[in-house]
């Protein structure tokens, strides 16, 4: 386990970094940006996989597998759907440029 203070500092640093990088995105691309961010928010799949897997290995019973499996599936929908939709949108912006 990592010390809570480190985790909180990581959160703060990333928030600030993200804020300044995202400020450069023009409003033209705000929808793709938002949907890309949306896909990224599915990153929680990482946590879901870890928790579900460890629960399985330690034999926590079927409830954990159902809850964890649901978490993984929902996050996967978020990730695949989000990146897919973003990609489609961005391709639309680009097709004129040929």
């Amino acid at each position: 386990m990592i010390h809570p203070l480190i985790l909180i500092s990581v959160f703060i640093v990333c928030t600030v970094l993200g804020y300044f990088i995202i400020r450069n995105v023009p409003s033209l691309l705000h929808t793709p940006l938002m949907s890309g961010m949306n896909a990224l928010s599915g990153v929680t799949i990482v946590g879901a996989i870890g928790a579900t897997g460890l629960a399985f290995l330690s034999g926590s019973g079927p409830l954990a597998q159902i809850v964890g499996g649901l978490a993984i599936a929902l996050a996967a929908v978020n990730v695949f759907g989000g990146f897919g939709v973003t990609h489609r949108m961005l391709m639309m912006f680009n097709k004129k440029k040929k």
């Binding site: 993200g18 409003s27 961010m37 990153v43 996989i49």
Partner: protein, 512 residues
């Protein structure tokens, strides 16, 4: 978590940031998106390896199901449904974070070594607190997003719904949620389960209460905010299970959503708090109430307004009659008669002479799905050597950048899309402005009508243009409920009411 793991997490987080910064230019945006996706994939693989759960089959089954559903939705969904799709995906992410929070709150999903360390270092309270907080934020995101998606998909009423003691209940649920989360720090065992269930229920209710009150035009703000919350939920869940990558990426998403929220709020002249707690924009306060004692000018203005409404009604009736007679003429005279002869100063006539035109799209264009017709109109004008530009108000539509995506779908070159600040001074220089399904974003009343919801909101200076062609469905005030004085302007306004697709086709064929 070993040092190698932390380093890998940091590298991946930097990759994600690089991907996002590439999304600030159209040329590199596609690659940026793919880079972020790649970083995510690496994150998943790294998790599988480092936590030693490669052999667990249930994980793959769940991923496969989610991947199938997600990919299917991503390829099938229409561009017009984008706002609700984004909202829905967002909610699912929040829900997943809440579920992770539930597992950690129950002490499930930690390896033996981790469980040992939690006890050894006394991290228990921190884990419990973050787990419950993840549940709370995740559930608010899930429920809020589902309601928002339902509203955008028109399953739920678009209007703000206000229940009995709405503000009080909202506040109560928020306080209850926080109460359960904080209590969760100090308890264990059965009491912890009570806190967990309490958090779950109270947060869901809070999500429902706050989102059901948000009306259509505040959706861009709400979606951005929920987007931010889903990131924060992930990040907090990451703290609970001690995963640096999750904390980092969640934080980035949270920041981006917050930034977008801020931009939207500024563009609408709304305070975030007033949308969350104080209720959504109410229709303009009925003028006659206030003025009697204090301000005679207000009375006058109210009377003017009433007069204008009367005029408007007369105009609508007149227009309807005109359309009727036109229809009659068309039907009666078959093709033989050139029907357009008698109405000389028409919208089509104005466009036929114009050399410089600005198009102002709004949510109405999205509703009528008229973006292709808009493009055809622009093409026709451009083929005649007219300069055509598009003026995009930051909150036009139902999500940030909504108009840009729709116009991109119709193959409009993004270099012709101008932000409000870039084009606002040019309205007075152009020959004509074509408004398609937009109202509040160009309402000059925002500059003068003190006390109305749109007062102070930056608007497009459409009123400065010599000729304005309005292709709106009707002349009803927009979401903010404030009459638009452009419609009743004496000169240089052409109202083409009805379905934007049809009115645009009529315009296009009318341009000689």
């Amino acid at each position: 978590m070993s040092a190698i793991q932390i380093i890998i997490s940091a590298v991946l987080a930097v990759l994600v940031l690089a991907g996002i910064s590439m999304m600030s230019k159209v040329k590199t945006a596609v690659a940026g998106n793919l880079l972020s996706a790649l970083a995510m994939l690496c994150g998943v693989v790294a998790t599988l390896l480092f936590t030693g759960v490669v052999s667990v089959w249930t994980v793959y089954v769940a991923i496969l199901i989610g991947a199938l559903v997600g990919s299917l939705m991503a390829t099938r969904v229409q561009m017009i449904q984008m706002p609700q799709t984004v909202a829905l995906f967002n909610g699912l992410g929040g829900g997943a974070s809440a579920l992770v929070g539930i597992l950690s709150a129950l002490g499930i999903g930690f390896s033996e070594a981790q469980a040992h360390e939690i006890v050894l270092h006394g991290y228990g309270p921190f884990v419990q607190f973050t787990a419950l907080l993840a549940v709370a934020v995740g559930m608010v995101t899930l429920v809020g997003s589902l309601v928002a998606a339902g509203k955008l998909h028109r399953i739920l009423p678009q209007k703000p719904v206000v229940w009995k003691c709405h503000s009080l209940c909202t506040l109560l649920f928020l306080v209850l949620t926080l109460g359960f989360v904080i209590t969760g720090i100090f308890v264990s065992g059965a009491a912890m389960t009570v806190c967990l269930v309490g958090t779950l229920v109270a947060a869901s209710l809070f999500g429902l209460w706050f989102s059901v009150r948000v009306g259509g035009a505040d959706m861009p703000i709400t979606i951005s905010l929920l987007n931010s919350l889903s990131g924060v939920a992930g990040s907090i869940a990451g703290m609970a299970i001690s995963d640096v990558f999750l904390v980092a990426v969640g934080g980035i998403v949270g920041a981006s959503g917050l930034l977008l929220t801020q931009i939207m709020c500024r563009a609408m002249n709304r305070k975030l708090m007033s949308i969350l707690v104080g209720g959504t924009a109410k229709p303009a306060p009925k003028q006659p109430q206030t003025p009697v004692k204090e301000n005679e000018e207000l009375v006058k203005r109210a009377m003017d307004l009433e007069k204008k409404i009367k005029e408007l009604e007369a105009m609508v009736a007149d227009l309807e009659a005109r359309v009727q007679t036109l229809h009659g003429q068309l039907a009666g005279a078959a093709q033989a008669q050139p029907a357009a002869q008698e109405e000389k100063p028409t919208a089509a006539g104005v466009l036929s002479k114009a050399k410089d035109v600005i198009i102002v799209p709004g949510y109405g264009m999205a509703l009528a799905q008229a973006q292709h017709q808009v493009r055809q109109l622009a093409d026709k004008l451009e083929s005649r050597g007219v300069r055509v530009r598009y003026a995009i108000h930051p909150v036009a539509g139902r999500m940030p950048g909504h108009m840009n995506v729709l116009l991109a779908e119709a193959d409009v070159d993004y270099e012709k899309l101008y932000e409000m600040e870039a084009i606002n001074d040019d309205f007075k220089k152009v020959d004509a402005v074509v408004v398609i399904g937009a109202n509040d974003v160009l309402n000059p009343a925002a500059r003068e009508a003190v006390g109305t919801p749109i007062y102070g909101m930056p608007v497009l200076n459409v009123d400065e243009a010599p000729e304005v062609i309005v292709c709106n469905y009707d002349l009803k005030p927009g979401y903010a409920g404030v009459e638009n004085p452009i419609y009743t302007r004496e000169k240089g306004v052409y109202l083409e009411l009805g379905d934007a697709k049809e009115t645009l086709m009529r315009l296009i064929s009318g341009i000689a």
